[in-house]
Amino acid sequence: MDKFQIQSMNLHYGKFHALKNINLNMQKNKITAFIGPSGCGKSTLLKSLNRMNDLVEGCKITGSLKLDGEDIYGNMDVNVLRKRVGMVFQKANPFPMSVYDNIAFGPRTHGVKNKKQLDEIVEQTLKDAAIWDELKDRLKKSALGLSGGQQQRLCIARALAVKPEVLLMDEATSALDPISTGKIEELCMKLKNEYTIIMVTHNMQQALRVSDYTAFFLLGEMIEYNDTDTIFSSPKEQKTEEYITGRFG
């Protein structure tokens, strides 16, 4: 079942044609990886999925992007969209407040005031993000004191706290050590039972290890999209072959 359906999508930043005629359906409860050299448009497409490009001056999108069949650039409330489609960035960006308040921030914004209910959300979310055991005794401490890997997993937990349906990850492990990266990859594998995950990564091995489907982008075009095993064993397109084998890009 498709979570996102993208048809004939074009995106311009002013005169620059950043995404060209993208047609792509992404399945529910699967991990889809976007790969491609820097500047190919993969992060731009990722950000379009929860309208993070709305505030970029000169950004113009045509075509159709649907979430569960509903046009996300139509009448959908952008706050509702971002509650349904959470995002984690390359650099961990915890709020300068306690671990607890970082997680509770989203639910509070969406109207949850009850202390007991918030406690439950914080505990369950940190457990879902596989970081409860590490942080349960530090809930009132500043999130800024955590390690980089812990901060990033806290950000994932924060995104999960508002019960999204989709998690967008923009190079979410590129600044982390292998242990922290491994923990987040394990987390993704666990989370995909309940969430749809779309990740941008420059790490080919990570795309191979974690994702079910991979889309390869080049100069604003989607060159190839297939199940990950096929892309990395027998890609159909020469450009994909050259990129993933490290012979250009």
Binding site: L208, S233, I244, G246, F248
Partner: protein, 217 residues
């Protein structure tokens, strides 16, 4: 980009070509030992077999190093994984050539009491299969590799004819039972070498196309 990696892959390719040449040599000398009753030819097979075994170990270690260092994907992964499979078949061809040579050492003292035509036809056919499988790898020729796979049926048919020859031989003269069994063993080794050549051709097809089904087997 990745010039060092490409040099390493070329080296792997060359190593496989060298191993291919060794097995072709082993087969040629084994067939010569049979048809010419030449023990020296049989002894040569033993020497080549040692080289084949060493080559298999070297290529295997090299492939594992490439996997560890380069984390290959796509056609690189297919080449390296196919190489690992092909060298096993090549090594078995070396073993079976050596087995044929051992039998030849024993039976060379006897006069072959029957027409060897079907066995020598088998030898020619499977030799051609091995040569073509190696050539298909060198020239990346899928069509040639597919023709090798089809040729296996010819070797199998010839083996059936040799079986009939041997049954006839024993029926006509029961004292020829031992030589008939030895010759049947030789034919069986040739038939197995044909199977290994087919396997090699199938891996050549996979390494080029990523598809196992094209061999038609």
């Amino acid at each position: 980009m990745r010039e060092y990696y490409d040099v390493e892959l070329t080296k792997l390719n060359n190593e496989l070509v060298e191993m291919g040449a060794l097995i072709e040599n082993a087969i040629t000398h084994a067939v010569n030992a049979l048809t010419q009753k030449d023990i020296e030819e049989a002894n040569l097979v033993d020497k080549i077999e040692i080289q084949i075994n060493q080559k298999e170990k070297d290529i295997e270690a090299f492939c594992l190093k490439l996997i560890l260092h380069q984390q290959p994907v796509a056609k690189d992964l297919r080449l390296i994984s196919s190489a690992l499979k092909m060298i096993t078949d090549m090594e078995r061809i070396g073993d079976q050539s050596s087995d044929v040579a051992e039998i030849c050492k024993i039976i060379s003292k006897n006069s072959y009491v029957h027409n060897l035509k079907h066995i020598t036809d088998m030898a020619e056919q499977m030799k051609q299969m091995v040569t073509q499988a190696v050539n298909a790898f060198v020239t990346k020729d899928v069509v040639l590799a597919m023709s090798v796979c089809k040729s296996d049926d010819i070797v199998d048919e010839l083996f059936s004819k040799v079986q009939c020859d041997m049954i006839k031989l024993i029926t006509e003269d029961s004292s020829k039972g031992a030589i008939a069994l030895d010759l049947l063993m030789v034919a069986k080794y040739f038939e197995r070498i044909g199977d290994h050549a087919t396997n090699i051709a199938e891996w050549v097809i996979f390494s080029i196309t990523g598809d196992h089904k094209l061999s038609g087997k």
